[in-house]
């Protein structure tokens, strides 16, 4: 057998656009490239000189699927620069908002984007004809996530209520009450959905990557914590740029990330979070993880869909606790004075750790912005895993090989719009 290439021009069921290019000589893999051709939008440059208050509204527009994550990392980073400490009330409401985004984003990915791969459909919409109950359940979960973001954020896509220091307006207790019955149903439905996906047939495949996520002593990581790694390190968020490096590669408008100390890529996202913080999951999610038999350190990226299910369960349970007990009162935001300085923050976007750093001046303007999204950090690891995966799935049927490669990429839920900077599968045998 000679050399050949396998190419997927436009990957589907991922957010944003990119392709995949694989070059083989015989059955040996010469090169694997995730080709991100999403046009660059240059956010870091266009933030400069703008009032710092614009940052959460503008960075939200990096991604329509996870705008809350961009708003959270940006306000936390700016608050660090301005020495603002938010009240416990605001902290709680920010977690509640994040729960909404996790439910919406994971619900979408599980049911409409990823599940069709296991059941042999081109789309969730097509799958709905044979699995109407499961797809409708998924759509209801997704809708609940959106409703929660709407309640706290004003709208589901590009929320308008988040600001430096807190929120423009606090939600009302009666608005909370209205959501409770749906969320009680949703918790049960999320458990059922997780059991459903845990029953899929998973390919036997393991990656030897390093898992990294935030970790917090008291809670499942969302808005704060230190970076924890599966090799046992703890890294302060302030050292993010010393520890990780983004490199530019010719085939991608996304920057590739590696861990400087090891020279190796790493993996962020739901599988990493569950692997490193399983004991911090809500009681129902923790019990469910044991029941469905998720390994203590799961190294099969295809099984990330189970981790997403567990995080939906966690988000419902935590959201319900806040919706039932919280009585929003007091000031909606902290006041602050401008001061020159620098601030950084990492929070857990649905797809993994999202780092922001800003330099601001004494007039309240952005001097410098640095944004490191989860998908561009995962890209190098995805390519490394693909190299291994191809030897499991290679056949003369190039379409089938390409499809299986695309399945693996989809398991990471890449967000190309975010990475700006990402998928086609193309296999080449010269």
């Amino acid at each position: 057998m000679g050399n050949r290439t396998i190419k997927v021009e436009t990957m589907s069921r991922v957010e944003g656009e990119g392709g995949l290019y694989i070059r083989l000589s015989g059955d040996a893999v010469d090169e694997v490239r995730l080709e991100i051709y999403e046009p660059p939008r240059l956010f870091e440059a266009l933030l400069r000189g703008r009032p710092l208050e614009d940052t959460p509204d503008i960075t939200a527009r990096i991604c329509g699927i996870c705008p809350v994550a961009y708003q959270m990392s940006s306000v936390h980073a700016l608050e660090a620069a301005l020495d603002i400490t938010v009240s416990p009330e605001i902290r709680r409401l920010r977690r509640l908002l994040y729960c909404g985004e996790w439910i919406e984003s994971h619900g979408l990915h599980m049911h409409l984007l990823h599940a069709p791969d296991f059941l042999g459909f081109d789309s969730g919409l097509e799958m709905a004809k044979q699995f109407p109950d499961e797809v409708n359940r998924g759509l209801r979960l997704k809708k609940h996530g959106n409703q929660l973001v709407e309640l706290l954020g004003g709208r589901a896509i590009h929320p308008i209520n988040v600001c430096v220091g807190g929120f423009y307006r606090l939600p009302k207790r009666k608005e909370f009450q209205k959501l409770i019955p749906d969320f009680e149903w949703g918790l049960g439905a999320a458990v059922a959905a997780t059991r459903w996906v845990a029953g899929f047939d998973y390919p036997d495949f393991e990656t030897d990557c390093e898992f990294i996520s935030l970790s917090h002593p008291d809670e499942y990581p969302m808005n704060e914590g230190v970076m924890k790694t599966s090799s046992g390190d703890l890294i302060d968020v302030c050292r993010y740029e010393e520890e990780f490096e983004e490199r530019q590669v010719p085939h991608s408008t996304a920057l590739h990330a590696i861990r400087k100390s090891t020279g190796h890529p790493y993996l962020l996202g739901p599988l990493s979070r569950v692997n490193l913080n399983r004991e911090k999951l809500s009681p129902t999610a923790r019990k469910l993880a044991d029941e469905v038999g998720l390994e203590p350190l799961c190294s099969n990226p295809h099984r990330a869909i189970i981790a997403r299910g567990l995080e939906i369960v966690h988000a419902y349970e935590e959201a319900l606790m806040i919706l039932r007990d919280d009585q929003p009162q007091g000031k909606s935001r902290e006041e602050y004075q401008y001061q020159a300085g620098e601030g950084m923050s990492a929070t857990e976007a649905p797809r993994g750790t999202l780092f922001h750093r800003y330099v601001v001046d004494e007039a309240g303007k952005i001097v410098e912005a640095c944004i490191i999204p989860p998908t561009s950090q995962n890209q190098a690891q995805i390519e490394a895993d693909l190299k291994q995966w191809i030897s499991h799935v290679i056949s003369d049927d190039e379409q089938d090989t390409a499809r299986k490669c695309e399945n693996l990429v989809r398991a990471y839920d890449p967000c190309i719009s975010c990475s700006t900077h990402f998928l086609k599968v193309k296999i080449e045998r010269c």
Binding site: T10, M11, S12, R13, V14, E15, G16, E17, Y37, E38, P39, P40, R41, L42, F43, E44, A45, L46, R48, R50, P51, D54, D57, I58, R61, I62, C63, G64, I65, P67, L112, P116, D122, S123, G124, L125, E126, A128, N136, L139, R140, K142, K143, N146, G154, R155, A156, I157, H158, I160, N161, C163, Y168, R169, Q248, P250, T253, R403, E406, S417
Partner: protein
């Protein structure tokens, strides 16, 4: 006649507007039954070539390749609808128009030479004929469903062109400018969001672009008399619809004024 063939296409954007279709949870399966989805990569692996009866185009044109791609999509499509502020006005990335794009690229990428971009981010209508524009950052999913349903029914889509102010009156929201002195673009911004921001105690920031016949000069004069600097007012117009002519011209006029004063 079979079901109309639908294509969804993405240019420079955040994906949020096409997500609005997947976010229409209650209508999604009904819409998916009423049309034949031929090209919608975010939702389906089945990608069929044109012709398409309806094309939904998200995003702005920012690369030489995209400037060519939109021409083919236009040739393949009977009715082309642009969705969202990127497609209708160039989006937030149009902030680089008039700035030094090369310098912007150097600020973000170590080797900008790997990446080809155009100096300007431009709306789809600058490149091809557009049959209907749906505004917003993001679009309103109910307006999108209205547009699709009206096309299926063979009538013209109805999306209001009045200003956000009218929606505040309808909702019974007390005016944030009059009552609290908060700067608000509501008087000059097109309706579509249901006037959310003022109901959350903040001023409108212009997601839906200029309303029909907006009086920008009057609004800036009011804001400046109330104590804002021309530079601040100019900045407020420079966001998601910065390249929409009415917002662009007024922000430019105010920026020139600031320069003369200094």
């Amino acid at each position: 006649m079979g079901r109309p063939k639908l294509g969804v296409f993405k240019f420079a954007s955040c994906d949020g507007c096409q997500l609005s279709l997947l976010d229409a949870e209650d209508h999604l399966l009904a819409v998916a039954d009423a049309v034949e989805i031929r090209h919608f990569p975010e939702a389906s692996s089945r990608m069929e070539p044109g012709p398409y009866d309806i094309a939904l185009v998200e995003g702005s044109v920012t690369t030489p390749h995209d400037a060519e791609r939109i021409q083919q999509i236009r040739r393949d499509s009977n009715y082309l609808i642009t969705i969202g502020a990127c497609a209708t006005a160039g989006g937030i990335q149009a902030l680089r128009n008039g700035a030094d794009t090369d310098e912007f690229m150097r600020a973000v990428y170590a080797s900008p030479e790997y990446i080809q971009v155009l100096d300007n981010s431009t709306p789809i209508a600058e490149h091809v004929k557009v049959d209907f524009e749906l505004r917003g950052c993001p679009i309103n999913q109910y307006q999108l469903i209205e547009v699709i349903q009206s096309l299926l029914a063979g009538r013209n889509p109805r999306t209001p062109k009045h200003s956000v102010c009218l929606d505040c009156k309808r909702r019974g929201t007390v005016c944030v400018t009059v009552a609290q002195g908060i700067a608000c673009l509501g008087p000059v911004t097109q309706s579509g969001c249901n006037a959310i921001c003022p109901s959350y105690h903040r001023g409108c920031y212009g997601c839906y672009g200029p309303a029909s016949q907006p009086n920008l000069v009057s609004l800036s004069t009011h804001a400046i008399n109330a104590g804002a600097s021309p530079a601040e007012v100019s900045h407020s117009l420079q966001s998601f619809n910065v390249y929409a002519p009415a917002f662009r011209n007024e922000s430019q006029r105010l920026a020139d004024q600031t320069r003369e004063q200094n």
